[in-house]
């Protein structure tokens, strides 16, 4: 449903998005992961025709976004929840969109209800909304035309934990009914609970992509020993590439058997040895995107 082919965006000498290619299929949630400034938003804006790409192309439902006659009925877009007129009420914001798309007015109340904005909240001006409420309004706006594709940029920003849990359920359900979801985040934990596929971007380039399980499986082995220092030396001696994990252990890019053997040969007592799973993916995410986030500070 979403095809991104070799999208590149250059701003002068700076390449914000560099040859990004991926696909999103119906029935799946694709997590678009990367640190701030990695090029996620720019890529999404290019998909939605907001930013002209320097090269490459993107299509949604088989067509470039700008050629869709009534895109709101096919694609729900939430690029920035704060980009709403502060002086309009929530209900008015949706009413304008409903009229533009030719959607029945009853849908406005239905979608407000769906995202948990009650009548009082709907009557307030958006300027008085919290970020979480704006995200809900933005989600209502995206869902208003009953689209088959959702493109959401950092939709969990500003939502409380319960709100994040609620949104996961909504998106999972939406995809299970055949919808296509592309959602970005700079937090791995936020996305891994709901995504089927992951596209990891750093410094404008895709650094990893594939099924979540596939990426998890390839994430290596987590190992912990009573003597961490000796373990480090042992792993180095056995030429097993290891990086210090977030919580004390090591993540090794090798099978558990190879790591266990090396430890046994060295006579070490292991306290933990298992496939790294999500911890490994986090490690992968951190290492793959390392350096990209420091560039962000300069940009």
């Amino acid at each position: 449903m979403i095809h991104v082919d070799h999208l590149t965006k250059r701003y002068g000498p700076h390449t914000a998005v560099d040859d990004v290619t991926f696909r999103c299929e119906p029935g799946t949630v694709t997590g678009f992961l990367g640190p701030n400034g990695a090029g996620k938003s720019t890529t999404m804006r290019m998909i939605c025709g907001m930013t002209p790409p320097s090269s490459g192309a993107a299509t949604v439902a088989g067509r470039p976004y700008r050629q869709l006659p009534n895109p709101g009925r096919e694609i729900g877009v939430l690029l920035d929840a704060s980009a709403q007129h502060a002086g309009r009420t929530g209900r008015e914001t949706l009413t304008l969109a409903a009229r533009t798309m030719g959607v029945d007015r009853g849908q406005v109340a239905a979608k407000l209800d769906l995202v948990g904005l009650n009548a009082t909240a709907a009557r307030r001006r958006v300027g008085a909304y919290s970020l979480g409420m704006r995200q809900r309004l933005g989600l209502a706006l995206a869902l208003l035309g009953d689209p088959r594709v959702l493109i959401l940029d950092e939709p969990a920003n500003g939502l409380d934990p319960e709100g994040i849990y609620w949104m996961r359920g909504l998106l999972r359900d939406y995809a299970d009914r055949g919808g296509t979801v592309l959602l970005s985040s700079h937090l791995l934990r936020e996305v891994e609970a709901v995504a089927d596929r992951l596209v990891v971007i750093g410094g404008g380039r895709v650094v990893a992509q594939g099924g979540k399980d596939e990426l998890l499986a390839g994430a290596g082995t987590l190992v912990r020993a009573r003597d961490q220092h000796a373990l480090r030396l042992t792993l180095d001696r056995a030429a097993l590439p290891a990086t210090a994990g977030t919580d004390g252990g090591f993540v090794v890019r090798a099978e558990p058997a190879a790591v266990g053997q090396a430890a046994a040969d060295a006579g070490l007592v292991l306290t933990e040895l298992r496939p790294a799973g999500t911890g490994g993916l986090e490690q992968l995410f951190l290492t793959l995107t390392a350096g990209a986030s420091t560039k962000e500070a300069v940009r």
Partner: protein
């Protein structure tokens, strides 16, 4: 705000057919008209325009001689102050999309941006024509009030005034819209629009050679001719030239700028 009820979004695939037709220009114009009035700032701008028309008539009731209190005398003076505010309406309708960043939503729903611009221009032109109607109604009320308070209250009106007034107000609102579209920035556009006539008069006073061109390019001068029933061919020509320079060119350049501009 923290409801965690089981979500029931409308089935993504259950919909029979996606609406494959673009929203018509009429529908987009309706939406843009609604946008003019659905924010506090917009509503107050419209109310202010109406109140100014009323205030002018009330002042006329007190200051002009009883014999001069005719329909025409009430109608004409209301045009100028209203025409001063209409460009602000034109500017805001374009620039607020950028300053409030609603362009992100607007262009997501209507990616063919030129259609949005055409709808916006149509909406502000309709608003300008509406303002002429308001001026007519207020002038009629003023005439009735004049009759009741011992004034002339005569219904004398040169009907040629009406198309002139319409051109004046439409020109004014498009002047603002052109500046807004070209500059895409509210304060910059408003300041430029407000300063321009002053700059012309100052320059024309200082530089002898500019006085000739000013008669063709200073819109406050060329459009002023429309405030009476008689407009000569020469005045129409000067009006046309000034409108091409200050309305048509900014609109065309601004349209290209808007089509190419990155929305973020």
């Amino acid at each position: 705000m923290t409801t965690a009820t089981a979500p029931t979004p409308t089935a993504a695939h259950a919909r029979p057919e996606p609406a494959a037709t673009s929203p018509s220009l009429a529908r987009l114009t309706q939406v843009e008209l609604r946008k003019l009035a659905d924010t506090r700032a917009g509503r107050w701008l419209l109310i202010t325009i109406g109140l100014i028309a009323v205030a002018i008539v009330v002042v006329q009731l007190f200051v002009t001689d009883a014999a001069e209190q005719t329909f025409s005398a009430f109608f004409e003076p209301s045009l100028l102050p209203v025409g001063l505010l209409l460009p602000v309406l034109g500017i805001l309708s374009i620039t607020s999309e950028w300053s409030q960043r609603t362009a992100l939503t607007t262009f997501a729903l209507v990616p063919r941006r030129e259609r949005v611009i055409v709808a916006k221009l149509t909406a502000v032109v309709l608003a300008a024509l509406g303002s002429v109607l308001v001026s007519l109604v207020v002038a009629a009320a003023g005439t009735l009030a004049a009759k009741a308070t011992g004034g002339a209250g005569a219904w004398t009106f040169d009907w040629r005034m009406l198309p002139h007034a319409a051109v004046f107000q439409v020109g004014s609102v498009l002047l603002g819209a052109g500046f807004g579209l070209l500059l895409l920035n509210t304060p910059l556009a408003i300041v430029t629009y407000l300063l321009l006539p002053t700059v012309w008069s100052v320059l024309a006073a200082m530089i002898e050679g500019l006085r000739g061109p000013a008669r063709w390019l200073d819109t406050s001068y060329t459009m002023g001719a429309l405030l009476g029933p008689d407009v000569t061919a020469g005045q129409w020509a000067r009006l046309g030239v000034s409108l091409v320079v200050w309305v048509l060119l900014p609109l065309v350049a601004g349209l290209f700028r808007t089509l190419r501009r990155e929305v973020s």
